[in-house]
Amino acid sequence: MNALISTALSGVVMMFAGLLIGNKQRIKIVAIVVLLVAFAANLAELSTLGAGERTYYGMITVSHFSILFNAIALGATLIFFLLSGSAFEKVGEHVSDYFALIFFILAGISLASTFSTLLMLFLAIEIISIPQYILAGADKKTPKSSEASLKYFLMGSFSTGILLMGIALIYGATGTFNVAELALGAGKVNTLALCGIILMAFALSFKVSAAPFHFWTPDVYDGSPTVFTSFMATVVKAGGFIAFIRIFHGAFVGERLTADWQLLLAIITAATLIIGNFTAVFQQSVKRMLAYSSIAQAGFMLLAVISMNTFATQGIILYAAAYSVATIGIFAVMIKLKDYTFDGFNGLARTQPVLAITTTIFVCSLAGIPLTAGFFAKYFVLAAAVQQGNLLWLVITAVICAAISAYYYFRVIIAMYFKQGEAETEEINGGFKLMLIITAAIVILLGIFPGLLLQFI
Amino acid sequence: MDWFFILEKIALISGVLAISLVVAMYSTWGERKVAGIIQDRLGPNRAGFMGLLQPLADGGKLFFKEEIIPGNSNRFLFILGPSLAMIVACMTSAVIPWGDTLTIAGRTVSLQIADINIGILYIFGVVSLGVYGIMLGGWASNNKYSLLASIRAASQIISYELAMGLSLIALLMMTGTLSLKEIVDQQRHGGWNVLYQPLGFLIFLVCSFAECNRTPFDLAEAESELNGGYHLEYSSMKLGFYLFAEYINMFISSALMASLYFGGYHFPYMDSLGWDPNIITILGTAALFIKIIFFLFFFMWVRWTIPRFRYDQLMRLGWNIMIPLALANMLITGAMVLYRSNAQ
């Protein structure tokens, strides 16, 4: 609840900060300060919450899980602001508005992690989505950006329509929007409810860009201003997954019901993994590769969604953190480069060793190499799926895909270390390097002691 | 099947539509007469006594004028525009309570066409459609003046609709109902709403002017800038429909204001007269019409008194003044009502 309130207010503050403060550097500082306040407010709720969870007006349920996830989302955004905040100026004039929109997205994410009725789920998804349409089109000078925006908008609102139809059908079948009540009545499932669940699964797959509903993702991520792609592909996507996992684990449980959607989602997961990984192999642009990699990573997070056990919740938290931080880091480095293709990274190790070594750590994390956070993230989601028992075929697929993912992730490392070339970068100041090192340190710390995060659940 | 009910409604609908048209026709006459009086000249005086047949002559002329549809216009939309404007104008009268109930041969007959519980929403919904008539007409004409006028009109109408809606909310907080009939009946004992909602009424009044494209907000028809505005390309009865629609809207606005703020068909001391209810009802209807005619006169009075706004002034008035004022009015009303209900 605190996270929701503080992020929403922060958004308003940023809106007005732009009117009152002319200096863009100062706007960034204000954004970081209010974000820190939101972060603190979120954690402060932990002390008042006690052991259990608290429901507000039957609409929002705050739990340790939600607070932890919000902390991760806010923390990742903090890293994002610190690393890439100054890149906002390159996109356009309205820096404060971009910050405000990001805060509103965060409000949506905090709602996604706390909703307890389908109404709030819908609102959360929309509050997350609509600012993104605008961020995608923020670069008004380039036609690619506005096209990305339009594409995203049309696809996004289309999936919203499908989501709503799903919700309406479920309501028609059960007579309630309340997640807990839905779970209670899940025994008596009828066709109407099943159609609703399928539609909701489709719509949410759309939002988290799972195959075969992923086709908008590469174009949109490629066309959007890079700095916003970085946010959209990470924190926002994690928010989508939280909504996904909370609704499917919270509401659609029951022996028969779970089996019904589990198979559907398992197929979606397998498709996502295969398509995401295999297509990423053929990309020449790192930005596009990361877009496909985000699809591939979505496949892994879906593993958590279809597994109904504690590993899944732990895994999604860890995955959200590991994936977001690492990807934000890579994007932050990429923004500093002149050329976004793999060749643009050639020889980075010689010209900018700090950037190269931190990027290597981020890439290893994405590939799931031990001692980075990504390893335990993958570990937990795999463990969740293995524990599910009947999904071993999916686990094997996932593992093979993970091996393939090493192929394209390591192309970045190969380019940086083993290829000849002089990677051209912008001027890089010490503060940026320091932030990168801190971020990489976080990745490694989580890679050695994942318990640091998990103990809060 | 209750045929009497249907017959009764048919009679009522025909009556209301006829009266609307007649009032609209004579409003044109009234307008010119009022202009004449204000500007110290005669006004129409040739056709009939005091020019009373002038509206009929004008109407007849419109029927027999040549119908011109410009070559590069969109034919279908060109016809649809005025038709829509007219239909919308005719539809708003459906929920206005024209009077209390009459008892004829043991049957209770309501002088309201449809007493629905969301009357105000209905009016808002239907009135919002009115802007389409203007938009379509202006766009279909494919004329730069028309297009500009229709866009202006649309912007103006939607801008003032906000303040209008907000000002009504304060009223609704007091009445607690969306049914026009109930709102009117509540004023029977408690006094007219205008006493409690003077600011709300003022905002509503100003917004009504803007909604009806009346001076000082008649920028959509500003002859000096736009050669007559959105209906520049229209002729014959299609032009007539636009003009009629405007006057009918004025009529309905007046009726609405009278009903919402001035007690509708109520007149002072009506309960203490002790006459036959039917007579009281008829007197009530007459009272309503007197109020309506007063507002119509007021519309005309303003037209010939106040000059036209500039467009930026108009928008600033709407957004920067009317909306905050209406919000403040709403909040103050809310606080007052709650304070009083708790004090009791």
Partner: protein, 105 residues
Amino acid sequence: MPVQYYIFLSIVLFCIGVMGVLMRRNAIIIFMCIELMLNAVNLLLVAFSKMWADAGRVDAGGAQIFVFFIMVVAAAEVAAGLAIIVMIYRNSQSVDINIMNRLKN
């Protein structure tokens, strides 16, 4: 009227909307089709609300509140969407989504 009629109507409307989105090329029309989908859902929700209210559920009004929220969100989407479409139109003088394949490699 039985609730099935409403369900049928809104499903038909919804399907028209979906087909429109999938088949039309004009961004505005796609957009309108999406609105049609949303309104089909609104209709369905109201119908279900009535159905459950008749069945004795006291909280059935919640579905109508849901409709309000859908309207509001749809309005927000309209605001964002129209702005985007205007921007596109000013850039390319067209709202045909077929010409927008610059992003395809």
